[in-house]
Symmetry: C2
Subunit: 281 residues, 2 copies
């Protein structure tokens, strides 16, 4: 199978390396608006063919996998479906699913499209961040699977299973709400924490070179790519606002407990939060 990777960074690049590792690719092609990314991806063995023309790349491929910012997926996806042939499949790996699914809901070639989201990643980005085991024992979520050609879906799920991934099906709206809470919100708190601390450092009141691993853990997601994450927050605006408001409510509640020296209330707040032990090992 020949796969065109539109976007060969952390996610697309790792998926190519994983498919290669499991002997699932005859050839990996790449398309990017940044020629330097394609050159680097070739050097790293992520792709062997680089296309500077998207249409040519699409014609060449059996599968087309989009691992690019979600707003670019929105703009690009209908046009690719316009030119796709019957046996081809296009898959997107965007971190939001509602708007992307809506953008092609009534497209005549909708069945050739698989709306997917691998729950895997690191705070790094670009081809150099890619590695073949990123997806091992991780989850692949597929949305609106009933609108996808079932043979194509089955083949995709088989590839995921070969990569030792679990596959779950989920509605696009449920996906976006879920991700707002367990991923998008975590990124916002990291970026906000980073901003607050960096500002204090500028004022000369904090020495960041003394920070321990706890700080690092809560702030590492702030290293993620703004180009990827800005569009995610905007596409999932309503759910993200809902999640952020809930978080701000709890943070403000803690502030009030502390300001009132409410020892019992603080302990209860911490005990409630600590119940996350049940799910996070």
């Amino acid at each position: 199978m020949k796969v065109l990777f539109v976007g060969t960074g952390l996610i697309g690049g790792s998926f190519s390396l994983a498919m290669q590792k499991h002997g699932l690719l005859t050839e990996a092609g790449g398309y990017s608006r940044k020629m330097s990314n394609l050159d680097r991806s070739k050097e790293l063995g992520i792709i062997s063919v680089a296309f500077d023309n998207l249409e040519e790349g699409v014609k060449w491929a059996d599968w087309i996998i989009l691992s690019i910012p979600v707003d670019v997926i929105d703009r690009m996806l209908p046009g690719i479906l316009d030119i796709i042939r019957e046996e081809q499949v296009i898959i997107d790996f965007g971190s939001t699913k509602g708007k992307i699914c809506a953008s092609v809901r009534n497209h005549e070639a909708r069945a050739r499209f698989i709306a997917a989201h691998p729950i895997a990643g690191t705070e790094y980005s670009g081809p150099d961040a890619a590695f073949p085991d990123l997806f091992t024992e991780k989850l692949m979520i597929v949305c609106e699977e009933a609108q996808t050609n079932q043979a194509a879906l089955k083949q995709f799920e088989q590839v995921c299973k070969t990569l030792q991934m679990n596959v779950e099906q989920m509605g696009a709206e449920a996906h976006d709400r879920h991700l707002a809470y367990i991923s998008h919100l975590s990124h916002i708190t990291s970026y906000a924490l980073s901003n607050a601390v960096l500002q204090k450092e500028k004022d000369g009141h904090v020495l960041l070179d003394l920070a321990g691993s706890g700080f690092e853990s809560t702030v590492r997601l702030a290293k993620s790519s703004p180009e990827m994450w800005g569009p995610i927050f905007m596409e999932n605006k309503q759910m993200v606002l809902e999640a952020l408001d809930s978080f701000l409510d709890y943070s403000t509640q803690f502030r009030e407990l502390l300001n009132a020296d409410d020892q019992e209330g603080i302990l209860q707040f911490l005990e409630e939060g600590r119940k996350i032990k049940r799910v996070i090992k």
Copy 2:
């Protein structure tokens, strides 16, 4: 040297194991209000002698190391200094330093006390969480060092260096402000995030078993011991409120940018936050 560990959990227990590993202890004693902790600490090799009477333990020891909640340190420290002999040294490992230092500032045995804080830890607690390499290449902060007997301080710093720790001296107020931003705030955002997400899970809208490593990273500190952390927030109330307010300002600023669909503003917010790359590898 015989050391009495008052508190033999993650921090005290690890310090005992580290000193033993480097051949710095002839005997490790333990005191705790929880007898079960002492029994377990003996099983784990953290201590060999258990005291159910604090005064007896203090008399027995050359050094006394306090690794217990900071409010308990406040209450316990003056009483121990009352009975300490000239050649003995008491060291506290509390995560706040201002109130603890103030509590003994005018004590006639003040010079026998070292106010220290090892910048090391995990989200786990109790004797079972202890391990000998917790402190390797970590930082030991010492506050108000001028008030401590210089020979005792030198000996303590030598022990830290043998444990491959760096030692830095810092004012108690500077320490508490610094820690508010790079440690205490991180714990609060983790607990608040955990509360928000667990509430949503109760409502049936979030499936926590699908959470990825990014969520785990931002929320893991919420597994920390409320018994240790409640008093830290309360003792460092003013600095923590200042740090939390700055964080809430930035979070609210992000909320407004998103609500206003301000793409440029969002990208700028993320780019600013991303500058943490400079300090977090």
